[in-house]
Symmetry: C2
Subunit: 255 residues, 2 copies
């Protein structure tokens, strides 16, 4: 594959278009409902801007849909026929793209992107899936231009991956948010926990998190557990979370 | 303060003794119940080893107790009189050290230490507390030899800090462990989530985690929430955690 069309102009689309452009892939067009957004990104990657799905050029090897999850199906339905279509989402099944006139696939980079922040693509895991082996291999090779970590992952596995990411990332972030709230109430700043928080994440990527568990629950320090539960009396909801996760930590260590 | 005695030879004691030694503080003695452990660390920091608390030299400016939480009280009770005593724990009140014949304080570095891994002390927050202002200022100055981030934190605040750390670190780690378990069941590896997990933590230290929340709960994507809950049917306990945290994320965003 030498020519790619990007559908979308948000964080994923921007970072992906730029990375593919730098990898000497021709970005044919950038589509956005908003022409200005399409133009801004298109200019960066020497592509043509477009704000009409049905008018997209078919002089391309691949459409990559990088829009919000709920827009993937309606966008995919309108694309010109005959060109392979992929999306970049962790949670939408490949079959969402299905139409008798084309091949379909998944081109999913497993990272969260921030607009202004540069990305080290070489370490970002890519999950590849396709409706046939030839397209699979082409998408796999395309991803390998960007990253050393490319995997074949079917839609069922991808759903499990997304579920795991909810725990590892979304729920962890909520734990950080609760910590920040508790600190703020006591005139303290989450900044105090930054090194500990970063080191906890770093350790978990260097070993098995279950083996690295620390804290009063795993130590079965009932005195501290009771005391901390009482300290949360103003937050009945956080008490429930505290009890449930502490119990879960103890159950994991028992098995 | 020029001369310090380290009580303990575990991770915290080792890293702290080494850092103070490098900062040109004389380590007078290293105590461990196990003489070989005392000798091993003492040799590294040009100190004398000792395995008898009552025989510790009083030719020192400070005892720093860096042992397990449950050993702090019995160890502190046996120390020779007249020398200021501190401990390095996040969860034990300063009053645990109280005795009429001495000043007491807290010298608490907020980081998790691994035996073989070098530590950048300059960014580790230190929490300082003392039974009088003079000792407070001396401990504060001692911590400043190691770190740019030194804070006065009383025992009540320290308890809240410890509680917040349980959420931000211990509970996050359990979220990683659950993710790893779910992935393993489906022939996948937590490795796939490493970059996402590290970036989530890095983002939380650069902004307000509550504002950075992503995922199906904050989007109120009921279809995904329902689907993921069903995917956890083999783990009723994780279903409960999933529901409770998702609800908490939604409640936080409503307020």
């Amino acid at each position: 594959m030498k020519r790619v069309t990007l559908i979308g102009s948000g964080n994923v689309a921007s970072h992906l278009a730029t990375a593919l452009h730098h990898a000497s892939i021709q970005i044919v067009e950038v589509y956005s409902r908003n022409l200005e957004n399409a133009e801004a990104l298109a200019q960066k990657v020497q592509a043509n801007p477009c704000n009409s799905l049905v008018e997209l050029s078919v002089e391309t090897d691949l459409y990559i849909i990088a829009v919000s999850d709920k827009s993937i199906a309606p966008v995919a339905a309108e694309l010109p026929q005959g060109i392979p279509v992929t999306h970049t989402s962790g949670s939408i099944a490949m079959q969402t793209l299905e139409r008798t006139d084309r091949e379909i696939g998944i081109f999913y980079p497993l990272q969260t992107f921030t607009k202004e922040k540069t990305v080290d693509w070489s370490t970002i895991p890519f999950c590849i899936e396709a409706s046939n082996e030839a397209l699979h291999d082409q998408l796999f090779a395309l991803a390998q231009l960007l990253s050393k970590e490319v995997y074949s992952v079917d839609s069922e596995q991808r759903a499990k991956l997304h579920l795991a990411a909810v725990f590892a990332c979304n729920f962890s972030n909520h734990m950080y948010a609760i910590a920040a709230e508790l600190l703020e109430e006591n005139g303290l700043d989450l900044k105090l926990l930054h090194p500990l928080l970063l080191e906890t994440a770093a350790k978990a990527t260097a070993g098995d998190p279950a083996q690295l568990q620390t804290g009063p629950a795993i130590r079965k320090d009932d005195k501290v557990l009771q005391h901390q539960l009482e300290a949360l009396s103003a937050h009945p909801n956080y008490q429930k979370i505290y009890t449930l996760i502490s119990d879960s930590i103890q159950q994991s260590s028992d098995t």
